[in-house]
């Protein structure tokens, strides 16, 4: 963008409300990056709605100067669907967490995604229940010791991106809270996407689960644990850019470049693949066995729910004419009493 002078300042998108997350929480960074994205895109405050559920992350709407709806636990996608269908011109963002979006609200998340409602859903994954002071969440590791699992969690974790892909998501991405640059890129692409955009952000809860994503956020090690996804590019990673992901049958494996292995042997990232298989395969790469992909896994275009709903209405009106009450009242068998 050239007109930097007229570009709004991110601060203009801040509301008057004092931010009340714990000092050092990863949520601050996500808020900052979204405000920067809004400023960068010059979004209209009045046309933007942020809907959230319950949990630390769900306080988000209070801190942004646009329309905000802090709803109830797990239900933000359903409230947001109503908003988007009622007025498709609005940009509607959903803020949720691992407990809110994947436990109590799992059903709504799945169905919103499969309908491809034009919502931008950011799921703050900190692998813990923070607001209720530290119980294990659906994304907590097996064996995780928390207040409600002092002898270790016996639940197997759910993988948000795999779930989203299973629900036929049209846009799905992952970021880490400390990587502002990537977050901005991803938020921007999500904003431009027409259907459901689902973004998982690895977010550090520095009070109840500090360091759970250190492998992905610590500058010293993260390059060896993350693969930055770039459309059309071979999947290379590592501090020295000397490692890559190769397909061995249907399983990805880590290979070292050199010694006869060239980038041509590597898996090429294709975010627009019509089949979700590639994206799903990426979603199954987990630390520590594999590096974890960050960036955009999948971005395809399909008609959105609100488009289909309104075009159906449009077609019926074309066909039958705009509804008239007189006609409606007297449809079916009528008789006259004098």
């Amino acid at each position: 963008m050239s007109a930097t002078a007229t570009k709004p300042n991110p601060k203009q998108y801040k509301s008057s409300q004092e931010v009340r997350w714990c000092p050092g929480c990863g949520d601050y960074s996500i808020l900052t990056q979204l405000l920067k994205t809004f400023a960068d895109l010059g979004v209209k405050k009045e046309n933007t709605v942020i809907v959230s559920g319950i949990g630390c992350s769900s306080r988000f709407p209070y801190y942004v100067d646009c329309y905000g709806f802090h709803s109830i636990h797990g239900r933000a996608p359903a409230v947001a669907t109503g908003v988007k269908v009622a007025n498709p011109d609005l940009d509607v963002w959903v803020i949720t967490g691992d407990g809110d979006g994947l436990s109590i609200g799992g059903n709504h998340l799945i169905h919103t995604i499969r309908r491809n409602v034009g919502l931008k859903i950011i799921l703050f994954n900190n692998k813990i229940y923070g607001l209720t002071k530290g119980q294990y969440s659906p994304t907590s590791e097996f064996g995780k010791k928390t207040k409600s699992s002092p002898f270790g969690a016996i639940d197997h974790p759910i993988h948000p991106i795999s779930i989203a892909i299973g629900a036929e998501v049209t846009f799905v991405a992952r970021c880490v809270d400390v990587d502002g640059k990537l977050m901005q890129q991803v938020f921007r692409r999500a904003a431009e996407h027409k259907g459901t955009a689902f973004i998982e952000v690895y977010q550090d809860c520095n009070v109840y689960n500090h360091g759970s994503f250190a492998y992905a956020s610590d500058r010293k090690v993260r390059d060896d644990h993350l693969v930055y996804l770039e459309h059309g590019k071979p999947m290379i990673f590592g501090k020295e850019k000397n490692k890559g992901i190769r397909l061995n049958g249907t399983e990805p494996e880590i290979v070292e470049l050199g010694k006869g292995i060239t980038p041509d042997d590597l898996l090429i990232h294709d975010e627009r693949a019509p089949s979700p298989t590639h994206a799903y395969l990426l979603s199954r790469m987990h630390y520590p066995e594999m590096p974890e992909p960050v960036g955009i896994f999948r971005d395809i275009e399909l008609p959105t729910y609100e488009q289909l709903l309104h075009s159906q209405i449009h077609d019926v009106i074309e066909q039958r004419g705009k509804g008239e009450l007189e006609k409606l009242f007297t449809s079916g068998d009528t008789w006259k009493v004098d």
């Binding site: 509301s15 409300q17 209209k44 405050k45 009045e46 046309n47 709605v49 809907v51 959230s52 319950i54 709407p61 209070y62 100067d65 646009c66 329309y67 905000g68 709806f69 802090h70 709803s71 109830i72 239900r75 996608p77 359903a78 409230v79 947001a80 669907t81 109503g82 908003v83 988007k84 269908v85 009622a86 007025n87 011109d89 609005l90 059903n107 709504h108 799945i110 169905h111 709903l309 209405i313 019926v316 009106i317 066909q319 039958r320 004419g321 705009k322 509804g323 009450l325 007189e326 409606l328 009242f329 007297t330 449809s331 079916g332 068998d333 009528t334 008789w335 006259k336 009493v337 004098d338």
Partner: protein, 624 residues
């Protein structure tokens, strides 16, 4: 055959058959749940309505789509009361019963009047079917049907013969037997066939063989009545003197849907309807889904909770928004309804009540959700509650619910029930021009806007996203008075709780005074709400006619209640609250007005019979 001879024969045939005029008649089509009884009943209803009778219907069917054939639990029935006068109920006792199998006879015989017409499909009275219906002996031979005018008609055999020419395989051909039975009853009550013949043509246009077969069966049934020696008496029920106008027959669920569409149109807004399929409310969803030309945005949600949340979102964004469900669905929605209460977003929740608790009796009626409606949420969470009294009344009640919701910025619960939702009656088509517009104002001025600044009614402004300068945040956390910011201040919570309560109390200014039918003071006041109106009103009419000092207070508004209720309650010696629950309105009235009341409670999944009310009233009145 010469014309003269033909005419001569006809006259002779007619002379053989006597005809009797009736003020009203109640008939029941009963058979297996796959026998097409609902269809036969609906067709008879429409023909009678178009003929000009007042009608009231009661479809009663099992929860299973196809219960085991021939069993008592699988009996499906459709009761129609049609009259030369104004009526309020589908009738207590039957003038005629059509039983398509032994089970249908067993279940319904007790409701047939002595001397009543009993038509049975004698083909189905086989050993196996008799055993399934738990008959020790064949009632057609045992003499136990002596008190009735029994007509044993081999309906299946006759139907197969009648439709032979269409070449349909026997299984399919025998499915036409409901039309045969219908034709016979059409003859019995002297109804024209044209309406149903037209309907058959349209309905089965794509399968001409089926259309022809059904039409043949219908005519064969009619002709059998006309020619068979066994039928020597037929009945006439002349048109009723209804208020002049155009009429159509309507079920309560249809009326609710039409009311919501109309309300949205009167408000100049699109209608958003978010709903999850549930018996017996799904017909509202079906009706609205078919009306997209009215810009109805129907969202079939993934569950009850999502349905409720979606309407909150749609209302927040400026649509007229409603959801429809039944008791268990309301239970699931309650947390979200609380969200609508604290965010003060206007929407309507329709509860087509059914038997509970839990899954209860999905296809049967009950009124046991009054507590759930008035006080069934966490926290101090009041909202306006009203109940429709009859199928046609659902139309007006739905409009009223929307009107109050948008004026007071609140969710409103509209209670109907399975009985009036599925039941039908003639609906006088209103003059569109006479319907009052619903006035809605949205906040637009950033200078004066405060999200929780209240108007003279106690309502906060409706500021919809997309309005420049009015960006604000709402949610489920307690709000600060005026600014709407999150606020945990103790005094503020007290104030906001009181403001929300007062706002709902203010609705009293928008609802009419409570009326009393019959005596305005005296020995006994019959009190009812919702779908029990018809039975209680009919009983009151009879009691007043007999010179009893009895009044009927039917309450449309249950929260708040009209201002004059307290005064009415003082004017009667005895108060009898009649409801299809264990005394929920009774409980509320006693708490609110500190009055002693008596209760008539019925929880059998069935509506009140008029005589049940009358008998209880007589018991209380004694010799008075």
């Amino acid at each position: 055959m010469s014309t003269a001879t033909k005419k001569d024969k006809q006259t002779k045939a007619e002379a053989r058959k006597r005809s009797e005029e009736l003020m009203h008649a109640a008939i029941l089509f009963a058979g297996d749940s796959g026998d097409g009884m609902q269809l036969a009943g609906t067709q008879f209803t429409n023909a009678s309505a178009v003929f000009g009778n007042d009608v009231s219907t009661f479809p009663d069917y099992p929860a299973e789509i196809r219960a085991p054939a021939g069993t008592l639990g699988g009996v499906s029935g459709f009761q129609i009361h049609f009259a030369h006068q104004k009526i309020h109920t589908p009738g207590d006792r039957l003038d005629a019963l059509v039983a398509m199998n032994p089970a249908a006879l067993k279940v319904n015989l007790k409701n047939l009047k002595e001397g009543g017409v009993l038509i049975v499909n004698s083909d189905e009275f086989t050993k196996a079917n008799l055993a399934r219906a738990k008959f020790d002996a064949n009632p057609l031979e045992s003499g136990e049907l002596q008190p009735y005018r029994l007509y044993k008609v081999p309906i299946t055999t006759h139907t197969l013969e009648a439709v032979k020419e269409t070449g349909l395989p026997p299984k399919q051909a025998s499915r036409c037997k409901n039309f045969y039975a219908l034709g016979l009853v059409f003859w019995l009550y002297d109804r024209p066939l044209e309406n149903t013949l037209r309907w058959i043509d349209t309905k089965f246009a794509k399968v001409p063989a089926v259309a022809t077969a059904n039409a043949l069966a219908l005519k064969a049934g009619y002709n059998f009545g006309d020619t068979a020696e066994i039928f020597d008496l037929r009945y006439k029920v002349l048109p009723a003197k209804l208020e002049p106008g155009i009429y159509r027959n309507m079920t309560g669920n249809q009326a609710t849907a039409l009311g919501l569409i109309t309300a949205a149109r009167l408000a100049g807004k699109p209608l958003f309807y978010g709903s999850y399929p549930i018996t017996p409310a799904s017909d509202v969803l079906h009706e609205l889904s078919a009306r997209k030309e009215f810009d109805v945005r129907v969202f079939q949600a993934e569950d009850e909770i999502a349905a409720m949340c979606s309407i909150i979102g749609a209302a927040y964004a400026g649509n007229v928004a409603a959801t429809g469900t039944s008791g268990p669905g309301v239970a699931l929605k309650q947390e979200a309804i609380g969200l609508a209460v604290i965010t003060e977003v206007p929407c309507v929740v329709v509860n087509v009540q059914r038997g509970g608790p839990s899954t209860g009796l999905p296809t049967k009626t009950e009124q046991a959700d009054l507590f759930q409606a008035i006080i069934g949420r966490n926290g101090e969470c009041p909202l306006p509650v009203l109940a429709a009294r009859s199928p046609a009344d659902c139309f007006d009640a739905a409009i009223e619910a929307v009107r109050i919701a948008v004026k007071y910025m609140t969710p409103v619960m509209l209670l109907t029930d399975g009985y009036i939702g599925n039941g039908s009656e003639p609906w006088r088509v209103p003059d569109v021009g006479s319907l009052q517009p619903i006035k809605i104002t949205h906040a637009t001025d950033p200078e004066t806007f405060q999200p929780y600044l209240r108007d003279e009614h106690g309502a906060r402004p409706w500021a919809i996203p997309g309005t420049p300068g009015l960006q604000h945040r709402i949610g489920g956390l307690e709000k600060e008075h005026i600014t709407g910011n999150v606020c945990y201040d103790p005094e503020n919570h007290q104030k906001m709780t009181e403001l929300r309560a007062r706002k709902i109390e203010n609705v009293v200014h928008d609802i009419p005074d409570q009326d009393v039918y019959g005596q305005s003071e005296g020995d006994l006041l019959l009190i009812s709400w919702g779908g029990t109106f018809g039975a209680v009103r009919t009983a009151t009419e009879d009691l007043v006619h007999d010179g009893r000092k009895v009044g009927h207070m039917h309450m449309r508004w249950l929260n708040p209640m009209p201002a004059n209720v307290a005064d009415i309650l003082k004017r009667f010696k005895h108060l009898l609250v009649c409801e299809l629950n264990m005394g929920q309105l009774q409980f509320v009235l006693q708490a609110r007005y500190r009055v002693e009341t008596l209760g008539l409670h019925k929880v059998q999944g069935k509506p009140f019979m008029v005589h049940e009310i009358a008998e209880k009233a007589e018991e209380i009145l004694g010799g008075n």
